[in-house]
C-alpha cells in the first residue's frame, strides 16, 4: 500500500509540476494576476507530494519491504538502520527521487523568500522550475520508478547496499551535492525569466545572487565531502582522480564561481549582462550533463549509476529540450546593446572578466578531457582508444589555477571603472615581493629541502593572504579606529575575503600534501614497526571482530611520536555476508597539520601482515579550504541588502513594509 501511495504521490507531483510549468508563465504573458499567483501554492503542493513520496520509499526501506525492487536491490535485513535510510539514495531510482525532492525544495524556497520579487518575475521563475521538475518526474515515472514491485516473486532478503556505500559519506555527500547541483536551476530559472521578460538589469542580478551563492556553497561542500569520502574509503590516499563523475560535478562549480563574480559586476556596474545570463544557463546545463553522464554509461566510471542507454536517450532528449531552447532564447533575446559604462584595462571589471575567462577555460579543459575519448573514437575508431587521466588534467588545470590565484591578488585591490597602474604597483609590489620571499623561505626552512611545487604554492597562497590583509588595512584606513572600521565592513565583504582565504588554504593543502606525502607498504610481524619522520608505527597483531552484517579482521597499530606513546589505529578488513565482498577500512588519525593513515593488506603465510602506512601532511586543509569557501558564500548571503526591507516606525508596533516592493534608493 505504502509504495503505491509513494508512486501516486509522484504522479500527483508531476501533474502539479506540469501545471506550474504552464499556468504562471501564461499568466505572466497575459498579465493575469490570478494565474501568476497560483505559482506559490503549486510549488508548495509539489513539495508536499515529493516529501510524501520520499517518506514512502524510506518507509519501505526501514520496514524491509523487499517486494519493492529498488529496496531489494539496495538493502538487506541486516543492514544497520541508518544505512537503510540513506540507502534510499544509494541507487539510480532513489537518488533521482532525492534529486527531484531537492528541486521541489528549492522551488518552494524561492516561493517563500521572494517577497521582494515582482509577481511576473516570480511566476516565470517558478514556471521554469516547473518545466524542469515535470521533465525529471516524467523521466522517473517512465523509465526509473523506484516503486516498482515484485509481488509474486518477492525475495526473502535484499541484495544489500554496496559495502562501499555503507559509510558516513553516503549520509552526507549526495544530499549536499544535489543541493548544489540542483540549486543552480534557480539561477537558470532567473536567467530565463530575465530573457523572457526583457528585464535584465542590476535588480535582476541582486535577486539572483543569494540563490547562486547558496547553490555554490552547497556544491562546494558536496564536492569536498565526496573527495574526502574517496580519500578514506578507497584506501590509496588519493582524493581526486579526474574521473568523469568527479569532473561533471566540478564543472558546474567552476562555472558557478564565474557566475558569482559575473553577477557581482552586473549588479554593481550593469555590464557583462549577456555573459552573466550565459553563465547561469551554462551552470545548470553542466548539471544536466552531469546527470546524463553519471546515469547513461557513456563514459566509464566506477561511480556510474546505471548503465542504460535507453535512460541515456531520455536524459539526452530532456537536455535537448531544456538547454537547446534556453540557448535559442538566449541567442534571440540577450542584450546586444553596448553598455554605456566604461572601464580601463586595469579596472576591477576587467580583473573579474579575466577571472571568469580563466575559469571558463578551466571548465572547457575539464570538459575537453572528459569527452575527448568519445571524440577521438568517433574520428579514429574504437581500436585506437585513448585514456585521459590525471597526467593531462593536472598539467592543464594547475597552471590555470596558479594564474587565477595571481590575478585574484591584483583583482581584490583594483577599483571599479579605473585603477591606475601606478596605484596598483604602489599597493602591491611590496606585497608581491614579500609573498615570494616568504614563499621561498618557509618551505625551505621547515623542510630543509628545495621543492619547487611547494614553493610556488606557498608563494601564491601567501600572496592571496597578504592581499586580503592589505585590502582590509586599506578599507579601515580612514576610520576612527581599525576596530570600528572592521565592524563597518559588510558581511558580504567578509564573505568574499573568507572565500578567497579558503582558496589559498586549498592551494596549500593540495600542493603540500602532494609534494610531501610519504607512503610505505611494509610486511610486519606482530611487534615489528616502521618509522616515518617522528612517528613510529608498531604493529601489534590482528583480531577477529563481528559486525552487524560483516565479519572483520581488525589490526592494531600503536603509534609513537618522538618515542612516546601517542595513539592507536585499528584498520579493518571486512567480509560482508550478503554481497560476499571484502572491503578494507582504513584507520586514519585526522590532524590539522597531518593525517596518519594505515590500512591492512593480506596475511602472509608466516604470520606477518602487509600494512600500508601513509603520512599525509596538510591534507585536512583541502577540506578545510572548501568549507571556508562555502562559509564565505553563505556569509555573503546574510548581508543586509538581501534581506527584506524592514522599516521601523515610531509607533509602538513595528510594521514590516517589505511588501511595498519599491526598493528605491538602493545603494549598490
Amino acid at each position: 500500500m505504502i509504495p503505491e501511495l509513494g508512486n501516486f504521490s509522484l504522479i500527483l507531483a508531476c501533474c502539479l509540476a506540469s501545471l506550474m510549468a504552464i499556468i504562471p508563465m501564461a499568466g505572466a504573458v497575459s498579465n493575469n494576476q490570478l494565474w501568476m499567483s497560483l505559482a506559490r501554492p503549486l510549488s508548495s503542493g509539489i513539495w508536499v507530494f515529493m516529501l510524501l513520496s520520499f517518506a514512502c520509499l524510506a518507509y519501505a526501506f526501514l520496514n524491509d519491504d523487499f517486494s519493492v525492487n529498488y529496496v531489494a536491490n539496495n538493502s538487506n535485513s541486516l543492514l544497520p538502520t541508518r544505512y537503510k535510510f540513506t540507502g534510499v539514495w544509494g541507487g539510480h531510482e532513489g537518488s533521482l527521487l532525492l534529486w527531484v525532492l531537492i528541486l521541489a525544495s528549492w522551488s518552494y524556497a524561492v516561493s517563500l523568500f521572494s517577497r521582494n520579487l515582482p509577481l511576473d518575475i516570480l511566476a516565470r521563475v517558478l514556471s521554469v522550475m516547473g518545466i524542469i521538475t515535470s521533465g525529471f518526474l516524467l523521466f522517473m515515472l517512465l523509465t526509473s520508478n523506484p516503486f516498482e514491485r515484485s509481488l509474486l516473486n518477492t525475495p526473502l532478503d535484499g541484495r544489500d547496499l554496496n559495502p562501499l556505500l555503507q559509510d558516513f559519506g553516503l549520509i552526507v555527500h549526495p544530499p549536499f551535492l544535489y543541493m548544489g547541483y540542483v540549486g543552480f536551476s534557480v539561477a537558470f530559472a532567473f536567467a530565463i525569466a530575465a530573457l523572457l521578460s526583457g528585464r535584465l538589469d542590476a535588480a535582476w542580478a541582486r535577486w539572483t545572487r543569494p540563490w547562486t551563492n547558496a547553490a555554490w556553497s552547497f556544491l562546494s561542500v558536496g564536492i569536498a565531502l565526496g573527495s574526502w569520502w574517496a580519500y578514506y574509503e578507497l584506501g590509496w590516499g588519493g582524493w581526486w582522480f579526474w574521473d568523469p563523475t568527479e569532473n561533471v560535478a566540478f564543472m558546474p562549480w567552476l562555472i558557478g564561481t564565474a557566475l558569482i563574480h559575473s553577477l557581482a559586476v552586473t549588479e554593481k556596474r550593469g555590464v557583462f549582462k549577456s555573459w552573466t545570463v550565459l553563465l547561469a544557463i551554462a551552470a545548470f546545463s553542466l548539471s544536466l550533463l552531469g546527470a546524463f553522464i553519471v546515469r547513461s554509461g557513456v563514459l566509464t566510471s566506477v561511480h556510474a549509476f546505471a548503465v542504460d542507454p535507453a535512460r541515456g536517450m531520455v536524459l539526452l532528449t530532456l537536455m535537448l529540450l531544456v538547454i537547446g531552447s534556453s540557448l535559442f532564447l538566449y541567442a534571440l533575446r540577450a542584450p546586444v546593446v553596448k553598455s554605456t559604462a566604461s572601464y580601463t584595462l586595469t579596472s576591477r571589471e576587467v580583473m573579474l572578466l579575466i577571472n571568469n575567462i580563466i575559469l571558463v577555460v578551466a571548465t572547457a579543459a575539464v570538459l575537453l578531457g572528459t569527452v575527448y575519448p568519445l571524440l577521438h573514437e568517433a574520428v579514429y575508431g574504437e581500436a585506437n582508444r585513448v585514456s585521459i587521466g590525471p597526467p593531462y588534467f593536472n598539467t592543464i588545470f594547475l597552471p590555470l589555477m596558479g594564474l587565477l590565484a595571481f590575478v585574484l591578488g591584483i583583482g581584490s585591490c583594483s577599483r571599479w571603472k579605473n585603477t591606475s597602474v601606478d596605484y596598483l604597483k604602489q599597493q602591491l609590489l611590496k606585497v608581491f615581493i614579500a609573498s615570494v620571499a616568504l614563499g621561498i623561505i618557509i618551505p625551505v626552512i621547515t623542510t630543509g629541502g628545495f621543492n619547487l611545487g611547494a614553493i610556488i604554492a606557498m608563494v601564491l597562497a601567501v600572496w592571496i593572504m597578504l592581499t586580503i590583509i592589505k585590502d582590509m588595512i586599506n578599507k579601515t584606513a580612514n576610520k576612527p579606529t581599525r576596530w570600528k572600521g572592521l565592524k563597518a565592513l559588510s558581511l558580504s565583504y567578509y564573505g568574499m575575503q573568507i572565500a578567497h582565504l579558503g582558496m589559498s588554504v586549498i592551494i596549500l593543502g593540495v600542493c603540500l600534501t602532494s609534494q610531501y606525502s610519504v607512503e610505505r607498504d611494509v610486511r610486519l610481524m606482530p611487534g615489528e614497526s616502521e618509522t616515518i619522520g617522528r612517528y613510529e608505527f608498531v604493529f601489534e597483531g590482528v583480531t577477529t571482530e563481528q559486525g552487524p552484517n560483516y565479519e572483520a579482521d581488525r589490526g592494531t597499530v600503536t603509534v609513537l611520536k618522538d618515542g612516546e606513546s601517542y595513539l592507536t589505529l585499528r584498520p579493518e578488513k571486512r567480509f560482508y555476508f550478503a554481497t560476499r565482498a571484502v572491503q578494507t577500512e582504513a584507520a586514519i588519525d585526522v590532524g590539522l597539520f597531518r593525517d596518519l593513515f594505515t590500512a591492512l593488506g593480506d596475511e602472509r603465510g608466516d604470520g606477518s601482515w602487509v600494512i600500508r602506512i601513509h603520512f599525509k601532511p596538510f591534507v585536512f586543509w583541502i577540506w578545510m579550504g572548501a568549507f571556508l569557501m562555502a562559509f564565505g558564500g553563505v556569509l555573503a548571503i546574510t548581508d543586509k541588502r538581501y534581506r527584506s526591507k524592514k522599516v521601523a516606525v515610531s509607533k509602538p508596533q513595528k510594521v514590516n513594509v517589505s511588501d511595498t516592493g519599491k526598493l528605491a534608493g538602493e545603494a549598490s
Binding site: I357, R385, S387
Partner: protein, 153 residues
C-alpha cells in the same frame, strides 16, 4: 540476455576491485620506488572501470604492477616501460594521452582558448574606451547645455 547477465556480473566483480592494492616490493633505491608509484599511477587497469594500477586490486593490475617492478629492477626507463605496455594494451592503458595529430586539439586547445579569451578582453576594453571618447565629446556639449539651462533659470 546471457551476455547482459554476464556483463553485469563482470561489472559487480569489477566494482569490488576499487580498493587499493597493498603489496610489498623491495627496491634498490627510493628513486626506483618513486618511479614505481608514478608508473602505477599513470597506467590504467585494463579491466576496471576507470582505475589506475595502484588503485585496483584486480588480478591483472597486480600482474602488471609486478611486471613494472621487474622492469624497473632490470633497469628499463619509464618510457621503455610505458612503450611495453602500450604495445600490448594500446594507448588506452596510458592515462597520459600521447601528443600526436589526434590529440593536438586536446593538448593545445585550452591554451588557445585562453589566448582567445584574453584577446576578447583586450578588444572589449579598447572598443569601450573609444566609445567613451565619443561620449566625452557629447559630455562637453552637455555642459554647454547645462550652462544654458541654469543660465535661463
Amino acid at each position: 540476455m546471457a551476455r547482459l547477465a554476464l556483463f553485469m556480473i563482470f561489472t559487480v566483480l569489477c566494482m569490488n576491485n576499487l580498493q587499493a592494492a597493498i603489496e610489498v616490493y623491495q627496491f634498490d633505491s627510493p628513486d626506483q620506488e618513486e618511479r614505481f608509484h608514478q608508473l602505477s599511477d599513470q597506467l590504467r587497469c585494463p579491466m576496471c572501470l576507470n582505475s589506475n594500477l595502484s588503485g585496483s586490486d584486480a588480478p591483472i593490475a597486480a600482474d602488471l604492477r609486478a611486471e613494472i617492478y621487474e622492469q624497473i629492477i632490470d633497469g628499463r626507463t619509464n618510457d621503455e616501460i610505458i612503450d611495453f605496455m602500450t604495445q600490448r594494451y594500446g594507448d588506452f592503458i596510458n592515462y597520459r594521452p600521447p601528443l600526436n595529430r589526434g590529440t593536438v586539439l586536446l593538448w593545445f586547445g585550452p591554451l588557445l582558448l585562453l589566448l582567445a579569451g584574453l584577446l576578447v578582453v583586450w578588444r572589449m576594453v579598447r572598443s569601450n574606451q573609444s566609445a567613451d571618447q565619443a561620449l566625452a565629446l557629447t559630455a562637453e556639449q552637455q555642459q554647454k547645455l547645462e550652462k544654458i539651462l541654469t543660465g535661463k533659470k
